[in-house]
């Protein structure tokens, strides 16, 4: 009310503010690449990096989960944390209804068979295609910005089912693009035959007759493509002990690896997902792979055997570069790897790379004490076939930079 007098003049100001500057805000927006470059400079200036590459996931069933790759950052401030609560209680919230004090409103399993992941869950469907476009971008950023290695191609393998369409065939009379040179040649031939051209060094083009059938067109046709393609087996230990941080870490790393491969193979990547506790099972999609939890014990050999059997039964090694990435907390009932090592040897006969990530629990004993790490080192395979087999051990609360370091170890 007080400013009515000045409003008229300000009115003009405001509307000009709204349209200023020229061009939309987006055009001045820094791209993700620029932001990452800025973040790299922070390190040079002596400040810690602030930008992380995150993923938003909208799970859907049947491989319909949708991913979006986004940068995230936290503006750190002095802020109140929530007051400590007893370990078996969480902070209270509000509600409304008729129940009496003490009545149970609902229950949520601690380890759901199909649960809510890491707070990024939601509802509804999406298209699998979008996962690829974002994951591809993520792979490109990872490769460029974090200096992940570029893959050396093992050789191109023929794809049996992949075709592209190209203007390779020729046809007389109709088609998509006129072949000028070929057409002219036909016209000349026809006119020589008709006697319209007597002296080939002196052709009067205005006299030439053009038969519609002389026109040669290029025509779109199906072409077989030869390109290298990859098949990735993601194998995850989902036994009881993996609940929480270890699972989050393995899943994050697997998403990043998948993205890197997607970029390296120009999207020619297929994925298979295997989960194991004491038994192994193949699951249809990343959603299930990401969200499933159980409380069973651990037998790594079961998973390796399943992968080997799948590759053999479906003759996958013939057509694909095969990668196997396994994430575990290092627990194994098969303490000495008696079952696991032979399966691993079998795997190394066809795989381009087997990468094993061990997310060690902070609470249990000293580092390097897990069964898997011990028997892998004991087998000598790590030294014998360093180009095929890699292992990376990290704490279950590893930061993103450490996860990326880990990927380098597994794939370089």
């Amino acid at each position: 009310m007080k400013n009515e007098d000045s409003n008229n003049s300000k009115l003009w100001d405001i509307s000009s503010l709204a349209s200023e500057p020229q061009g939309s805000y987006t055009t001045r927006l820094r791209s993700l690449d620029e932001l990452m470059e800025r973040d790299r400079l922070r390190e040079e200036d002596g400040f810690p990096r602030k930008i992380r590459i995150g993923k938003l996931i909208k799970p859907g069933k049947g491989g319909q989960e949708k991913f979006v790759v986004v940068p995230t950052t936290v503006e750190e401030k002095f802020m109140h944390d929530s007051a400590p609560t007893p370990p078996e209680e969480e902070e209270p919230m509000g509600g409304t209804g008729d129940e009496a004090e003490g009545d149970i409103l609902g229950e949520q399993p601690v380890r759901p068979e199909q649960g809510s992941g890491s707070g990024t869950a939601g509802h509804g469907g999406g298209e699998g295609h979008e996962l690829e476009s974002s994951a591809y971008d993520l792979g490109r950023i990872l490769t460029d910005r974090f200096n992940l290695p570029n893959l050396k191609e093992k050789g191109k393998k023929s794809s049996l089912s992949h075709y592209t369409y190209d203007l390779t065939d020729r046809n007389r009379g109709f088609g998509q693009i006129l072949e000028k040179k070929q057409t002219l040649r036909r016209v000349i031939e026809t006119n020589i035959a008709l006697g319209n051209i007597t002296d080939v060094t002196d052709i009067d083009t205005t006299k030439l007759l053009i038969d519609p059938r002389d026109r040669i067109f290029r025509i779109l046709s199906r072409e077989l493509e030869y390109e290298s393609q990859a098949l990735v087996f993601f194998v995850r230990d989902y036994s009881g002990s993996m609940d929480g941080k270890a699972s989050e870490l393995v899943c994050s790393q697997h998403v990043l690896i998948y993205s890197w491969l997607l970029y390296q193979f120009a999207r020619q990547v297929e994925t298979r997902f295997v989960l194991h506790d004491s038994d192994a099972r193949e699951v249809p999609d990343f959603y299930t792979y990401y969200n499933l939890r159980v409380a069973g014990g651990t037998r790594v050999a079961a998973a390796y055997k399943l992968v080997n059997d799948l590759v053999e039964q479906e003759s996958l090694a013939k057509d694909y570069n095969i990668y196997v990435f396994h994430g575990t907390d290092g627990d194994d009932w098969d303490t000495n790897g008696e079952e696991t090592i032979p399966e691993l040897r079998r795997m190394l006969t066809y795989a381009n790379r087997v990468g094993i990530t061990i997310a060690e629990h902070n609470a249990y004993g000293p580092r390097g004490a897990t069964e898997v790490e011990r028997y892998l080192k004991g087998s000598g395979l790590l030294d014998e076939k360093p180009e095929l087999l890699r292992m990376d051990v990290m704490g279950e609360d590893a930061e993103e930079t450490r996860i990326i370091e880990g990927i380098k170890k597994l794939i370089s």
Binding site: N3, P48, K66, H80, I104, G106
Partner: protein, 545 residues
């Protein structure tokens, strides 16, 4: 982004007339823009101010917002910003009846911005204009100092939640002359109690003497009273002068303190950083009331869009559609808090209670529940009362004053607890309490409340800046301490210490042995000091709290 068309503007003007008749007060001019969802996404990181300064974190937020939008497209009805004139943004394609509802909602927000006293410091100027000037300043500095401008912005923003918002606000309400002579205040509040440490009986006797003095001498009382004081305590004048000098030293928030006292910032080549700090500080102060009045402001807007919509002759035939949209906004959630719902119901209940004369001692003293139910003095002052509430309170006082057992019972509210059931290996949600006190505490816990951290000049020796966190039962977020202190060290140009409370380790003999539940729950708070020096953080235990 474009202004709404003339037809829609005429609907808005109609809403303004009706809202004014109902008692809402707001400036004549308002601006309404149609924006796309994409525009909204772009404005969001800049707190909807198109002219706010550029900063890379906004870009990160925007990219994230766009990603989210791709997964979960959403469409807010409106956004209002507190400027001169107020600007509001709308999505395209709303039917007229919906615009009527939204416009009432927006007008109530504007009324709130322009009349609630916590916004007092924002009443007189146009933020978008100031923001534009700030933005240009920062752009110019960036052309001179490059990315270092962004580091300074970052470090300043890391403490912009600690701005002295209330201190600033209190200046606006301060009288030129204190109601009592300050000498009297000093004598009774400080000198007798702290300097002399007199007994209560003697203190009361002095008060009596003063009162007698006032009765006998009227205006000349003070002179006579202090003549006796000085006779008895010759040192009084000296103490008083010293005491008032100390008082005059202003309480500066950390950003102000740095601007004034940091040797680093006051070096010639670094002076430009101070103007960046000023931009960050003033922008933060501007937005402080918004976050402290969320429940009231949304409740107020919901109250009015309901009240005014239903009496608007232009919307006949759309009542059912309105009910659907309205209940979507203002329904009480089965589990979870909806500020729109709680705020609106509180205003409605306050109005009703005031209408019946229930906000009185007479009602409060009634113990008989039947009598309480039947109580109705038919005062009809409800409407006036809620206008006063919207003017004078913020979320904290609103909840603290009006969330009572009547309110909790009436809306069947309860506090939901979440506990682990080991047998069933499941989290159970249960009705923890229906007591107003606990419900109030839960609401208050959900409110914005930055920690109180102040510069302690006595403890900071030499070049060290000493920050003291007044502990209020909650620790600070530990992960954020290092980077926040890194920034302060940069701006201060020397070592920084932060004294704060954290959970200390349990005494060793207890850790292995089984403990009784209440013992296990007892928290062992300890006072720690963090030190940031040469970009390295260390932590030492100060002693038991």
């Amino acid at each position: 982004m474009e202004l709404i068309d003339q037809h829609t503007k005429s609907i808005m003007e109609g809403c303004k007339e009706r809202a004014r008749d109902a008692g809402l007060r707001f400036s004549d001019e308002t601006l309404e823009y149609i924006v796309t969802n994409r525009d909204m996404l772009e404005l969001h990181p800049k707190v909807m101010i198109p002219t706010l300064y550029d900063y890379w974190v906004h870009d990160v937020e925007l990219l994230k917002g766009k990603g989210k939008y791709e997964l979960y497209p959403h469409n807010p009805y409106e956004t209002v910003i507190n400027t001169r004139p107020p600007i509001s943004f709308y999505n395209d394609n709303n039917p007229d009846w919906l615009n009527v509802m939204i416009f009432y909602h927006v007008l109530a927000h504007i009324d709130f911005f322009q009349n609630n006293l916590y916004f007092r410091h924002t009443w007189e100027y146009d933020l978008t204009g100031k923001a534009l000037a700030d933005k240009r300043l920062i752009a110019r500095l960036r052309s001179e100092h490059g990315r270092w401008v962004d580091y300074v912005i970052e470090f300043a923003r890391s403490i912009d939640n600690l701005v002295g918002y209330f201190d600033g606000l209190s200046h606006l309400f301060r009288h030129d002359r204190p109601p009592f002579p300050r000498r009297i205040d000093y004598y009774f509040d400080v000198f007798l109690q702290e300097v002399k440490g007199v007994k209560t009986a003697e203190y009361v006797k002095e008060i009596e003497r003063y009162n007698r003095c006032t009765r006998e001498y009227g205006e000349l009382c003070e002179e006579s009273f202090f003549a006796d004081v000085v006779a008895k305590h010759p040192e009084f004048e000296a103490f008083y002068l010293k005491g008032t000098r100390e008082k005059k030293e202003e309480r500066l928030d950390i950003l102000q303190f740095l601007m004034e006292h940091s040797e680093f910032l006051n070096q010639d080549e670094n002076r430009w950083m101070k103007s960046v700090l000023e931009v960050i500080r003033s922008t933060s102060v501007y937005f402080q009331p918004q976050i402290r009045t969320k429940i009231m402001n949304e409740g107020w807007a919901s109250y009015w869009h309901e009240t005014l919509f239903l009496t608007d002759d232009r919307i006949k035939g759309h009542e059912v559609e309105f009910a659907r949209v309205h209940s979507g906004v203002t329904s009480l959630h089965r589990v979870g808090l909806n500020p729109y719902a709680i705020g609106m119901r509180l205003f409605q209940q306050i109005e009703e209670a005031a209408d019946q004369g229930k906000l009185s001692l007479e009602y409060q003293r009634l113990a008989d529940s039947h009598a309480r139910k039947e109580f109705d003095r038919k005062t009809g002052t409800g409407r006036d009362f809620i206008f006063a509430v919207r003017e004078n309170l913020c979320d904290f006082t609103f909840i603290n004053t009006y969330v009572d057992q009547d309110f909790v019972n009436r809306h069947k509210l309860f506090v939901v607890g979440k506990r682990l059931n080991k047998e069933r290996t499941a989290w159970q949600y249960y009705v923890k309490s229906r007591k107003a006190g606990e419900y109030r505490a839960m609401l208050q816990d959900s409110l914005y409340h930055p920690p109180r951290i102040e510069v302690d000049r006595a403890k900071g020796s030499g070049k060290t800046l000493y920050l003291n966190h007044s502990f209020e039962g909650k620790p600070l977020v530990t992960e954020f301490i290092a980077n926040t202190m890194l920034g302060i060290e940069f701006l201060w140009g020397g070592p920084v210490k932060l004294e704060t409370s954290e959970v200390g380790a349990a005494p060793p003999q207890e850790s292995g042995a089984p403990r009784r539940e209440e013992e296990a729950r007892k928290i062992n708070w300890r006072r720690f000091v963090y030190t940031m020096e040469n970009r390295t953080l260390t932590k030492t235990l100060l002693g038991a709290d």
